[in-house]
Amino acid sequence: MATAIKAQHLKIFYPIYGSSSRSLKKTLVRAATGGLIASDARGVNICAIDDVSFSIGEGERVGLVGHNGAGKTTLLRALAGVYRPAGGSLEVQGKIASLLDISLGMDEEFTGYENIYMRSVLMGRTKSEIRKQLDDIIQFSELGDYIGMPMRTYSAGMSMRLAFAVCTAYPADIVLMDEWLAVGDTEFSKKAEARLMAFIQSSSILVLASHKPEQIQKICSRVLTMSHGHLISDEKVKGTS
């Protein structure tokens, strides 16, 4: 089936539970008092995405812009399948690579090898797929013999390089990214940029949330602008390939 994303009247609510309304006592008291203090205990719902409709087809590079709290990350998480819509519908077809937190699951105490396995498994990869990419990951991250050392001995840059190398090792249909990934010093960042571009090229759809207009201009063919959970504009970027 063709890779595609289709959202229709998508709505996502967050219930906000303070420490008080999350407690059992409040809920029991509420049940016992017949809803008298219900307004207090019910808490607030935040409407993070409200009535958003769009569809993204194969080959599109979509930039997601908007101020802080506009709903960009929430939308990315919904696309990743983590947040179920509270209303409307969302269909996503294709294998997703979610680069929202590239070092998810990695741990200081474990060696580079162990972290490669853990990170890859959390991306839904099997042992044999991992084995195939292992050399490429190690080589790209330039960790050398450090790959067998616990990650706590790495510098921050080294850890990032490893996480980045793993995340971009497995091709996917849909790539979700929260801010453009930039890792390493000047020399390494060029190499990383090239790898990331190749990774995106091999994918079918990119959704990139970013605060940097120039980054969006450079990469994306289409820009969705969000504000307070609404989609306020949807336009093509001029002069992109």
Binding site: P15, R22, L24, A80, G81, R84, S98, F110, L122
Partner: protein
């Protein structure tokens, strides 16, 4: 729920790795690793067992095997239940990025506690050998018994995981509850020292039936039919509740984190 249960096969590489890394993480940089848990349980069983055999005026040879098995199974049950309460909150980074069935987290914890159980089980073997308890054909009942306990723990984990994520106080309540249950269950004391009229303390105690199911076979007897029946009943009740909660709240859990 079917999706949650088949995850045991579909996500085997994920939950087994996560559970295994939890063990590695806990015992990182220690020389004998998880065998520390064997040692700590062993010391506890030996010392408390000796003392209570004097207090209850029972032969050490009778109380110690009874206590060793009870304690080791109890650690599996209580360990799993305690950790199930916090499992979603603990792995929220994972839940917020990767859409996998919730049961993967339950299997991860179950695997972790099962590995610890295997380490503890050395004590059961040691104590049995020491007091000349011989495994017989009846001992084979141990395996279905253990399988049922794991099944029940799985459903309980789903229930506790979901409820405790929504109502954080329940985690504390479960902790206090388990502490109490330990003393009200014939783990370090034997049912026969209980006066007849208080028999209900054990008869109505689910944890008693759970433990007996594996303790009887290991002591060379086949478990009473009532233990099997109660266990089936608990599993059905827990499965029904787990089924309902999963169906109703499976997709809400991530919003509660």
């Amino acid at each position: 729920m079917t999706e949650e249960i088949t995850a045991i096969v579909r996500y085997v590489h994920m939950w087994s790795l996560l559970g295994w890394y939890d063990i590695k993480h806990r015992y990182n940089r220690s020389l004998i690793g998880p065998f520390w848990i064997t040692i700590s349980t062993g010391v506890m069983v030996a010392s408390i067992g000796m003392m209570f055999s004097k207090i209850f005026r029972t032969q050490a040879g009778e109380l110690l095997p009874h206590f060793a098995i009870g304690q080791v199974v109890w650690l599996l049950i209580s360990g799993q239940m305690t950790e199930a309460c916090a499992m979603f909150v603990q792995s929220q980074a994972l839940l917020k990025q990767v859409p996998v069935p919730l049961s993967v987290h339950a299997f991860r914890k179950l695997w972790y506690n099962f590995i610890l159980f295997l380490h503890n089980f050395l004590i059961v073997i040691l104590v049995s050998a020491l007091y000349g308890k011989r495994f017989s054909l009846q001992s084979l009942y141990f395996f279905p018994g253990l399988a049922l306990i794991l099944a029940l723990l799985f459903f309980l984990s789903m229930i506790l995981g979901i409820i405790c994520t929504r109502f954080r106080d329940i985690t504390q309540i479960v902790g206090v509850f388990l502490q109490l249950v330990y003393f009200f269950t014939p783990i370090f004391w034997m049912k026969k020292v209980l006066p007849e009229k208080y028999a209900w303390v054990t008869d109505l105690n689910p944890f008693y039936h759970m433990i007996e199911l594996v303790r009887c076979p290991l002591l060379g007897a086949s478990p009473d039919a009532e233990h099997w029946l109660y266990m089936m009943l608990y599993i059905m009740l827990a499965a029904a509740l787990a089924f309902y909660l999963t169906k109703a709240y499976r997709h809400r859990v991530v919003y509660w984190l």
